[in-house]
Symmetry: C2
Subunit: 170 residues, 2 copies
């Protein structure tokens, strides 16, 4: 890595965010529960890593309270939702109290205790087995220990250009 080159061509955070707004993303409700308490938030920074062993990753801000809770609990659920959960996604992405975040939907405890969202397209029931810090964020590697498949939504949750969008019918 050539630090000189990096500093000469550094990209302002605002430009990077404008660029990222052009990347459409699925909408996930990430949850945890355990000794450090319960938490839930909305994420688009979720990515498949490998099927062997089944692993996803999720990126969380290191300074957020949820990062501390996830790191301590070591279990989480990644709940991938249809657009009927857009309101929940907004609740889980805002300043809503923990109680109100969870009161507006139905949940089933996963094998490790993380809340699985009933009605999601898919629930990935995970343990975090490794992580990697990069700048302000921690990339948490999530080993999938169980999967619950729901219906394939005709209208999966989509976020693009800073708003919720819809998928066109086939």
């Amino acid at each position: 890595m050539n630090i000189q080159v990096l500093s000469e061509t550094s990209v302002p955070a605002a430009l990077f965010k404008d660029a990222m707004a052009r990347v459409a993303g699925a909408v996930h409700i990430v949850t945890t529960d355990g000794p450090a308490g319960k938490a839930g938030f909305t994420a688009t920074a979720v990515c498949s890593v490998t099927a062997d062993p089944p692993t996803l990753l999720v990126c969380v801000n290191e300074t957020s309270s949820v990062a501390r809770v996830l790191t301590a609990n070591k279990v989480l659920a990644i709940n991938t939702v249809g657009s009927e959960f857009n309101e929940l996604a907004m609740l889980m992405g805002g300043k809503t109290s923990l109680e109100d975040r969870f009161a507006s939907a139905r949940w089933t405890p996963g094998s490790q205790g993380a809340p699985l969202l009933d009605g999601a397209m898919v629930n990935f029931d995970c343990v975090t087995h490794d992580s990697h810090v990069c700048g302000t964020h921690r990339v948490m590697f999530c080993r999938v220990v169980a999967v619950r498949l729901g219906e394939v939504a005709l209208d999966p949750g989509l976020y693009f250009n800073r708003r919720f969008r819809h998928m066109a019918p086939v």
Copy 2:
């Protein structure tokens, strides 16, 4: 991490892939060029990591030739495309020769030499500054050294449930 629990509840790769098919993804054409040669492939396993410093990640199979080329060149471009590039995405995801992959579109060399796809919604011009192996795959952390913004496509490239899909108009 409790290995016992993991082995008791292991998720078959086929089930994991069925579950991942429910996660909609943007379509990216990832390219590199340098001492180890040119390469290009289609990816949905791309994720924003942090805006400070601007960083994306891309996951590649460790055994693929492209992983070797990326690791050696240390530069890449992540080109996020509208659906008008679905044909290129299929070419870049198949068995097409290197020459044919690049012949069917127009490219501009990025600041580090990686080919930027003309007409993409956004070109992330990157250097790989770090990586992390997880199972069969290598997660490559890509520092964004320059960004070229194109038009926000009315119909961004989308992959969902094992096929290309379209976004509904606003």
